[in-house]
């Protein structure tokens, strides 16, 4: 019933992946968006880093930049000593075995004209792993790992329910035995009962396979459930990173607190709780506020917040926040 959620690593263990000062810009006729604006983070082997934020905060772009699905303008993404951002596309190919991606909408990310067997076997074929028979065995093995019957291999994605399709997406990501899986809103399109099935599956797989997750979601309760550590993003920047316990027990950044306060909760003992709501709208990403991006909505903001960008400072052991008052 209970399982250990602490990463089975001590702090001195080398991170699996280190992102340093990563910048992704998009130019369009309306101007430039700094989708990812100097982000640094690290993920240790076998741990889950939750990445949470509202729409347009750049969390998906950050995930895709780590997998080299969008090209960063500057900064580095190091995987075991290799800077992935400096590799050519073909040079990147061998490293793709280590980093896999699961997308929000499996129907959009799975080719509707391929059978499930073809889809799950494709990464093996691309990387020239095994012969036909070995691949077939591996497909059956992967299907059973994610809780699908072996005969699913001959069917098409549209013949499955949303939750089953996400299982297919996960099986495909597991095919190459990656060390890191980037999960981009993997349960956001699912109903809550199915969502629980997929979350349990992800947790089980991690404890069996020791794979690390970058779990991207807008849903704080989902992130709380799966994560060992959590990073909070706002308008392209990480505003706070901490362990799950510390973030939930003592959030340091006003935005993190605002997020927590905004989630409607089932707190049966506390019905009718009235909260501190965040005022105003999310500013346009084309024209983010000067200084601290959050100062326009922050209850604690003072004049210099509009001038000076706060840097991430250590507020406690393995807990950093980018706020002048933290």
């Amino acid at each position: 019933m209970h399982q250990n959620t602490q990463p089975l690593v001590a702090t001195h263990i080398e991170p699996l992946l280190t992102v340093n000062d990563l910048v992704v810009r998009f130019d369009s006729s309306r101007g430039t968006v700094h989708a990812v604006d100097g982000v640094s983070l690290s993920i240790k082997p076998g741990e889950t880093l939750g990445l949470v934020g509202e729409s347009g905060c750049g969390k998906s772009t950050l995930g895709r930049a780590i997998a080299r699905l969008v090209e960063p303008q500057s900064g580095s993404v190091r995987l075991g000593g290799v800077d992935l951002t400096r590799l050519t596309r073909s040079g990147m190919r061998p490293y793709r075995r280590d980093i896999q991606v699961v997308f929000q909408d499996p129907l959009a990310s799975l080719d509707p004209r391929c059978t499930v067997g073809m889809l799950i076997g494709e990464p093996l074929r691309i990387h020239g792993i095994g012969d036909r028979r070995q691949r077939r065995d591996r497909i059956a093995d992967l299907l059973s790992k994610v809780g699908l019957s072996a005969d699913s291999a001959d069917r098409y994605p549209h013949q499955f329910s949303g939750g089953q399709r996400q299982r297919i997406g996960i099986a495909r990501a597991l095919a190459l035995d990656p060390r890191l899986i980037i999960l981009d809103e993997p349960v956001s399109a699912l109903d809550v009962s199915v969502q629980a099935q997929i979350l349990n599956l992800l947790v089980d797989l991690q404890s069996k396979l020791g794979v690390a997750y970058l779990f991207i979601s807008h849903d704080l309760s989902v992130v709380e459930y799966v994560s060992d550590r959590v990073a909070v993003m706002y308008l392209g920047r990480i505003v706070e990173t901490s362990t799950r316990e510390k973030l939930w027990s003592s959030p340091a950044h006003p935005y993190t607190r605002a997020l927590f306060d905004s989630i409607p909760r089932i707190d049966t003992g506390d019905l009718g709780r009235r909260r501190h709501m965040v005022q105003g709208d999310l500013p346009s990403a084309y024209n983010p506020p000067e200084g601290c991006h959050f100062h326009t909505r922050c209850p604690r903001a003072e004049e210099f917040c509009a001038v000076e960008s706060p840097i991430l400072r250590t507020v406690a052991d393995s807990h950093v926040a980018a706020c002048h008052f933290a």
Binding site: A196, P264, R265, T268, L271, V278
Partner: protein, 339 residues
């Protein structure tokens, strides 16, 4: 509580197709009083959105709305057509949709759209309608409404657009506001603003609100009573407080237990409880309880006939034959946890 604003009796929505009709909403009955929010909660495909659309007669062929009666302030509106239906919509019943951008006309200013909603039902001068539009924008807490009234929808953020939708909905002081997943497309910080706004409107003007949602957290904080739908049918209806404190139907229990969050005890992660399997398809709806195939308390009797709605407490009801057994197992589980 007095006369309910809306009283629905035996509402069904069927889709005719070769090989027999599919029943998407099956004999739904409920009341909503003035100043009350009734939440209909359920997973996708349970028929909750269709119920909302059916109230406004918005189900298109091959869909068919049936029922004994749908009374709005005592008057039966079921089967209204043409002009009578048009006068009803937006006037006595107003609706807010999930995606405000698709519900707003991109080539008209928001002021023009609010004015249109007013003049469609009331014979007043343009200037008066315009003043009313400005005061409506003010009422939905849009800053600087005199200037904003000339904005086009694309100038506004998602949350602002939903405020405009609410302003349009309020244009004729409706008795009933139907909100179909009004915040599902919005960010969590904006969601709380919009739901808070709806709550204030309810308290100020006594509007009855039918809130369609999949989010039990929203239900918990913003509704007075809850109706849980599963596979087109009502499985449980209780006051929000009772339902969340002591859910009776196994499906309701499953929904509440499957929510992630607060699942760590002393740093250890406990497994989420799943509801096994999936919703039966409309074409293969079982004769008995729709939840039987996924229920851990199922007995043969559940599969033979639809469980009737059993009254619970003052005005609650639950459609389950096995409430006592489910309750007993919960007590057993609670004792286990204590060790």
């Amino acid at each position: 509580m007095g006369e309910p604003v809306l009283s629905v009796d035996g509402l069904s929505v069927r889709f005719d197709r070769k090989g027999g009709a599919l029943t998407a909403v099956d004999g739904l009955s409920f009341d909503i009083s003035a100043g009350e929010t009734l939440a209909i909660v359920g997973e996708s495909g349970c028929g909750k959105s269709l119920t909302a659309l059916a109230l406004l007669g918005l189900v298109a062929a091959p869909g068919r709305i049936e029922g004994r009666s749908v009374k709005l302030q005592g008057r039966d509106i079921l089967g209204l057509e043409g002009e009578a239906l048009r006068r009803l919509r937006g006037n006595r019943i107003a609706m807010i949709f999930q995606e405000p951008m698709t519900a707003l006309n991109p080539v008209l200013t928001i002021g023009e759209q609010i004015i249109e909603a007013i003049t469609a039902h009331e014979d007043i001068s343009h200037q008066k309608a315009r003043d009313r539009a400005v005061s409506l924008l003010d009422r939905v807490r849009i800053a600087d409404p005199r200037r904003r009234v000339n904005d086009y929808p694309h100038h506004l953020s998602g949350g602002m657009r939903q405020r405009v939708m609410i302003a349009i909905a309020l244009a004729c002081n409706p008795a009933l506001l139907v909100a179909d997943e009004p915040t599902t497309a919005l960010d969590v910080t904006i969601q709380s603003q919009i739901l808070e706004l709806l709550d204030q409107i309810k308290r100020e003007s006594g509007t009855a609100i039918l809130l369609i949602t999949h989010d039990l957290g929203v239900v918990s904080e913003y509704s007075d009573r809850v109706l849980v739908m599963y596979a087109g049918r009502k499985v449980e209806e209780r006051t929000t407080r009772d339902l969340l404190k002591s859910p009776l139907h196994p499906y309701t229990r499953g929904l509440i237990a499957a929510r992630p969050g607060r699942h760590h005890v002393n740093g250890l992660r406990t497994r989420l409880s799943e509801i096994p399997g999936m919703v039966p398809s409309l074409a293969e709806m079982p004769h008995g309880c729709g939840f039987a195939a996924r229920c851990s308390f199922v007995v043969d009797a559940c599969r033979i006939a639809r469980p009737p709605l059993i009254p619970v407490g003052a005005d609650g009801a639950v459609a389950c034959l096995r409430i006592e057994e489910a309750r007993a197992s919960e007590h057993a589980a609670a004792r286990c946890d204590a060790y």
